[in-house]
């Protein structure tokens, strides 16, 4: 029980440890669903599923940083959902976040019932990461590979918006 309190206290302290970074722990998928619903239907929500142990994921993280820098605002929101292990948070994700200044909001999703929540993100997704989901209003699209470059990520998002007939966001500068 004492352990439990300790973990609770630790979780509460995390936001303080990571100054300037938005970081939350979601134990239940419903919390992530709520977060997705908070995004306006006119905003493109870019959700990247990753983990510190997933090397292709880590390679493409800078592209999401860049995307956030260029477009974050009313048109685009970027969320990085980490699937790292909660029990090893202080050894893996926290040091990683301290070392790598990730600009987008970071969420640790520790809902273990993956078979239940994976299809709620995207029906055809079987759970391999990296995976990137684009959400715009009721429309969704899934990319199940590693982006090889920032340009590939940006083009992918633009093509999605063109396909669903939405305007391309304007960059805040390069």
């Amino acid at each position: 029980m004492r352990n439990f309190y300790f973990i609770g206290l630790f979780t509460l302290l995390i936001p303080c440890l990571l100054s300037g970074q938005s970081f939350k722990v979601f134990d239940n998928f419903s919390e992530l669903e709520e977060r997705i619903k908070q995004t306006k239907s006119t905003t493109t929500l870019v959700i990247n599923f990753w983990a510190t142990w997933c090397s292709p994921c880590v390679k493409e993280l800078p592209y999401f940083n860049e995307l956030h820098r260029k477009y974050a605002g009313p048109d685009v929101e970027v969320v990085l959902v980490s699937l790292d292990m909660k029990s090893r948070l202080d050894k893996t994700l926290i040091p990683f976040l301290k070392k790598n200044k990730l600009k987008p909001e970071v969420i640790l999703l520790s809902d273990q019932d993956a078979d239940a929540w994976i299809p709620l993100i995207y029906e055809d997704w079987e759970g391999t990461i990296p995976a990137t989901v684009l959400v715009h209003g009721g429309q969704r699209e899934l990319f199940q590979e590693q982006f090889e470059s920032y340009a590939e990520l940006e083009t992918y998002i633009f093509n999605f918006l063109k396909k669903i007939g939405k305007p391309i966001p304007v960059s805040k500068g390069s």
Binding site: L83, D113, A114, D115, I118, P119, E126, G127, T128
Partner: protein, 203 residues
């Protein structure tokens, strides 16, 4: 708008819908009969399903050395073999990764890991990366349960809690094998799970 063009578009989309809802023919799905395999084991011998003359089926697991998720399940895979090989369902593990991308998953490293962890099951190397695509494996660990005739009866996760074995609610693979041992079809025959992607060089 009831033009012939529209009718054609409707027909075409109906056809597309129909054809795309069918099973992906490029890999096995539940109910398909798998071809036998012939892969090198960590003991140097080549192993096929047909070598197991007493088997009532197989627990086939695509797994590897380096992946933290595979490591989380390593002990559980050993226990699966301990429990079920005596009942006729041995574990056959296959490493599908390209060691040019992950040196930790080379054959030599497989031999080392199998020794230090005392794997009681065959740990095979898909050196040509030709077997895992047949099964449609896309991550490690990715488990399959095959019956005596090599018909795929279950595809997916080993259980529903990778991080905390003590908190597992559903042991998918065990339930599937138990069902087959009772002469029944598994109730849950497909699950999704987080895992490491299989490492293959992009063409």
């Amino acid at each position: 708008m009831k033009s012939p063009v529209r009718m054609l578009v409707l027909l075409a989309s109906a056809f597309l819908l129909f054809s795309s809802s069918g099973d992906d023919p490029s890999h096995y799905v539940v109910g398909d009969k798998a071809a036998d395999i012939s892969l090198k084991n960590v003991d140097g011998r080549t192993v096929s399903f047909s070598d197991y003359t007493d088997a009532k089926g197989f627990i086939l697991v695509f797994t590897c050395n380096h992946c933290p998720y595979a490591q989380l399940y390593e002990q559980r895979i050993i226990e699966l073999h301990r429990k079920y090989s005596a009942l006729g369902f041995p574990v056959v593990a296959i490493n599908p990764n390209d060691p040019r991308i992950v040196p930790e998953d080379s054959f030599e490293e497989m031999v080392k890991r199998a020794k230090t962890k005392r794997y009681p099951f065959a740990y095979l190397f898909d050196s040509n990366q030709a077997v895992y695509p047949l099964f449609g494996a896309n991550r490690t660990p990715h488990a399959y349960v095959l019956d005596k005739n090599l018909v795929v009866r279950y595809i997916g996760a080993i259980d529903d809690n990778a991080e905390t074995p003590a908190a597992v609610n559903r042991k998918y693979v065990e339930s599937a094998v138990d069902a087959l041992l009772r002469g029944e079809r598994p109730e849950i025959d497909f699950t999704r799970a987080i895992g490491c992607t299989i490492k293959r060089k992009r063409k």
